[in-house]
């Protein structure tokens, strides 16, 4: 069946997963649901200890068996050791058919690709599919199609019961012996534990894994002891140098600076730029530079941000310190500066991923966002965005908060160079739809800026602007004029991945890659 973004979704898939096709970002506005819930093992007996001496012991106590769903968070990013540690033990114990439900997976988790080949892992539900895991999935090695969700979509899926977590492993920089866990105070701080909060509330068993035990009570706790079954101390939860960077560097590239300048002007000239506005940027390149460029304009016009959100980096924390930003709501920290700010600034708050982006709760922060600046691997002439599939058809990215912030914000801005090497960013049809065009408002490239025709209000607002506006078709044509007209990547028939929209409907499918064949 064709969905609202024109993608063909196999009917068998819809039947097998009991899913609907994507019918618009707010199609479920009138829906209600009963929340799912965990099976709780109590600790009424105060003499019982939660401490276990090893991952193995934790798995045995949690009664690990074939077919279970294990969950993990990705606050340790490329420095994470938890997933590999647990899965290595699971494999050693001869367990098979595990589904990993992670908030994201990256190249730190390459060893999982082998477990996929061996049948230890037969299901993956995640935002990120980077590295060897993405390759393994794209080459058809995973038994069941991977389910790819945004950050908000993952929370929804857990709360609505689409996925039931058997055991949640929560890596924590610090924990006390009763399971109060925090993202700070240890040997490899990550700042917040936002992604893990829903796991703690909905998994049947919750295991906190830490390399730094601290005295009870480890308060204020990000993860509460009231939700934790076991606490396991290990030697090392992650590599601190890869968890957060020392400092996120400002770009010097002229093209990126020009695009950042365009974004800054778009924000400053928009009707939403007034005292109390809100803003989310990414962690690098052009989008990071916008933080710095906005500052003098905010100072000159005495405009303050009511809140900044994300993905937090030091430049935004500097704005908080200067009083230009009133609050930071933090769902992930990218550098040491932001962790310091979290610890010391009373207006820098940790929030759950649900509060950040869950589409089906009673209103998340993304709904209150004015501006968001996002990247893209590809954007098509219908403004659909792909951030997941590479130009060779292999899975290599992550939706993250992209679909969530695009849907919730008043003005979503995509920033990307028009061409990368010989690959045009703006094209006729993206390989995979990750964020539907109806949620994408403006596309900024080094060759010009296109506003989504659905936003006549924005087109009207910028009519006296000197920015280089053009249509999205003109951007595509400029790209094709330089690199030539690209052919579409060809795939085999087998579906290896499902792109779930925020509301649980199916946005697109990813198929197995096919080696290239010349036309003869």
């Amino acid at each position: 069946m064709k969905n609202q973004v024109g993608r063909e979704i196999p009917d068998e898939l819809l039947k097998q997963y009991g899913k609907k096709v994507f019918s618009g970002s707010f199609a479920r506005s009138e829906d209600t649901y009963q929340k799912a819930g965990p099976c709780v093992h109590n600790y009424i007996d105060p003499t019982r200890s939660k401490m276990v001496s090893s991952i193995h012991e934790a798995l045995v106590k949690c009664k690990i068996h074939d077919g279970m769903v294990l969950s993990f968070h990705h606050h340790f990013r490329d420095g994470d050791k938890i997933v590999n540690m647990v899965m290595e033990e699971v494999a050693k114990m001869g367990i098979k058919d595990i589904t990993i439900c992670a908030s994201s997976l990256g190249s730190a988790h390459d060893p999982v690709a082998e477990l996929i080949e061996e049948g230890v892992v037969t299901g993956i539900q995640t935002s990120g599919v980077r590295g060897k895991i993405g390759e393994a999935i794209s080459h058809g090695k995973l038994k069941n199609p991977a389910i790819i969700r945004s950050h908000g979509g993952r929370v929804r899926a857990i709360e609505e019961g689409d996925v039931h977590i058997d055991i949640a492993f929560i890596g924590a920089p610090t924990s006390d012996e009763y399971g109060n866990a925090r993202g700070v105070g240890g040997k490899s701080d990550c700042g917040v534990l936002s992604y893990a909060m829903v796991d703690a509330k909905y998994a049947d068993r919750v295991v906190v894994v830490t390399d730094c035990m601290v005295p009870f009570p480890n308060y204020p706790a990000s993860i509460s002891m009231t939700d934790v079954d076991y606490v396991c101390k290990v030697d090392c939860i992650g590599d601190p140098n890869k968890i957060v960077s020392n400092a996120v560097r400002m770009t010097k590239d002229v093209r990126e600076l020009n695009m950042a300048h365009y974004c800054t002007q778009l924000i400053a000239e928009s009707p939403y730029f007034k005292d109390g506005f809100s803003f989310q940027t990414g962690a690098g390149g052009a989008s990071l530079a916008v933080n710095t460029m906005l500052r003098p304009i905010m100072e000159e016009k005495n405009i303050h941000m009511s809140f900044a959100i994300g993905g937090i980096t030091k430049p935004i924390c500097d704005l908080l310190e200067a009083g230009l930003v009133r609050n930071i709501v933090d769902a992930q920290d990218f550098d040491l500066g932001s962790i310091e700010s979290l610890k010391n600034d009373a207006n820098h708050y940790e929030i759950s991923t649900s509060a950040y982006a869950n589409p089906m709760n009673k209103g998340a922060f993304v709904n209150r966002l004015d501006f968001v600046i996002l990247g893209a691997l590809e954007v098509d002439v219908n403004f659909n965005v792909n951030v997941v599939t590479g130009s060779n058809g292999v899975l290599r990215g992550a939706p993250g908060g992209h679909p969530d912030t695009a849907a919730g914000s008043k003005c979503s801005i995509i920033v990307a160079p028009l061409i990368r090497g010989r690959i045009p960013t703006v094209c006729d049809q993206v390989v995979t739809v990750v964020t539907p065009g109806e949620d994408v408002d403006i596309v900024v490239t080094d060759y010009g800026i296109a506003i989504n025709p659905k936003r006549q209000d924005l087109i009207e607002a910028y009519k006296n602007s000197h920015l280089p506006f053009c249509t999205i078709e003109e951007l595509r044509d400029k790209a094709y004029a330089i690199v030539g007209t690209p052919e579409q990547v060809q795939f085999k028939d087998k579906v290896v991945g499902i792109l779930e929209a925020r509301d649980g409907s199916i946005l697109d499918v990813v198929r197995e890659v096919k080696p290239f064949e010349f036309k003869d």
Binding site: S391, G393, G421, R422, I423, V483, G484, E487, V489, F518
Partner: protein, 99 residues
């Protein structure tokens, strides 16, 4: 033109292509390794074959390792390799066989 010996032109840097020509076995033996093969594989082959035709080369073993080169760079590298295989470095037919 004949290919009397092997010659190589171009680099493996991003946006470039490395072209190797060797004496052929009676026909054009073309092989391609490209980072953008799905999108432009057919176009790259067409540009290379068309350039060989214009140069009058019909007997060659040509290997292209492409890193996202545009057509103008592909043509330049093929021409360079072919003329090097003929030890010709000046009085080149600009605007004629080289177009």
């Amino acid at each position: 033109m004949d290919i009397k010996k092997s010659a190589i032109a171009g680099t493996l840097e991003s946006s470039d292509a490395q072209v190797t020509v060797e004496p052929g076995n009676g026909k054009i033996d073309f092989s391609l390794d490209s980072t953008v093969i799905h999108q432009f594989g057919n176009q790259i082959r067409a540009a290379v074959l068309e350039t060989l035709k214009r140069l009058g080369v019909s007997n060659v073993k040509i290997t292209v390792v492409d890193r996202g080169a545009l057509d103008c760079t592909l043509k330049a590298r093929v021409e360079c390799a072919v003329f090097r295989a003929n030890d010709q470095t000046d009085n080149l037919p600009w605007g004629g066989a080289i177009k």
